[in-house]
Amino acid sequence: MIDKRVASAQEAIQDISDNATLMIGGFGLCGLPENLITALLKKGVKGLTCISNNAGVDDFGIGLLLKTRQVKKMISSYVGENEEFERQLLSGELEVELIPQGTLAERCRAGGAGIPAFFTPAGVGTEVAEGKETRVFNGKTYLMEHWLRADFSFVKAWKGDYSGNLIYRGTARNFNPMMATAGKITIAEVEELVPVGELDPNQIHTPGIFVHRIFQGKDYEKRIEQRTVSI
């Protein structure tokens, strides 16, 4: 057994420096590595490039790192629901690169699968295509897109074992599995950390080979963005 455990989020991120590129799992506020974001806040590293589907809300998720001006650039598919974000964007303090969601997911997957570039139809004929190579296959036009890789990937899983095997829960899976594969260093926080041998090998979503550090998170808030109920 290769033991990937670290004691805390603080220990897990101790070697992250200013200007690092981070992937941060989650969709909206669902499946966010809450403990790692909090630890980043405390550490105060600046100039971060964050690759994450969204940018959180004003007082939760990546929104917290925006408030403290730790983020230099966001690479996302959708960044609404965040006033501070909007202010920094309009004032030019924050760079933003918007990428179609499927392309973002596939670029992360490509980074973790050793595929430096691939062709996708998303964005053909739009401003997303500007400056990009296009090519026709079977009569349809596609864009060439490149892999994304990160210095550190932050992922959140439901269960994990000491050697870094991960199982996600519900739609909290989202971008976490691809980002786990695309980090030079991948750090996983889990709701339940169990000894090796307790997870069914057949049910593992992210094999431990992709995970370098793992710890059990605490005090999960799991904020809901749109609580919608039926009566």
Partner: protein
Amino acid sequence: MLDKIGIAKRIAQEVRDGMYINLGIGIPTLVANYIPKNIHVVLQSENGLLGIGPFPKEHEVDADLINAGKQTVTMMPGSALFSSADSFGMIRSGKVDLTILGAMEVSENGDIANWKVPGKMVKGMGGAMDLVASAKNIIVAMQHCSKDGASKLLKKCTLPITGLRCVKKIVSDMAVLNVLPDGGFRLLERAPGVSVEQIKNATAGKLVVDGEIPEMKI
């Protein structure tokens, strides 16, 4: 003129048994409420769920189970969960039979603009560009005109494009229209109380009116 629910009800009539369907945010989400009970479909949420169920009861709310609009949802029996990469894989490879989404503008050759308004804060395209680039069958739910009366069914889109030549059908508050393969909106149905003349006046792109145009049945 149809209200939002009217548009959703009319679109629901386009749904066929056995379809896998992706519903966009807004009016498209409402369509789910009006699909006849004897028609079995599976709703796809691009954040990683096949088989979206109704909104949860208060005690069922689960922060780990949301749709692409970030609303809490439930799962139907037979649901499956997967990653965002797998989700857009099934979208790109044409496994989703029907995509219903909103639009700010549609052009007579089927281009759609629905993600960006110059001068306004740009929130991002989310999954819209992937969906419109790959869907086999796209129905757009939209208002025929803007609040100041300008047509949104145009010769060419004025707003930044989301995708080219992809819209197959439009259900607006005034009409149901097909986009013809060689360009042009073919009028199929009028909303209750709306005349062909009114639709002509509200359509800036080429409108093809062929024979008698029936009123929608909702």
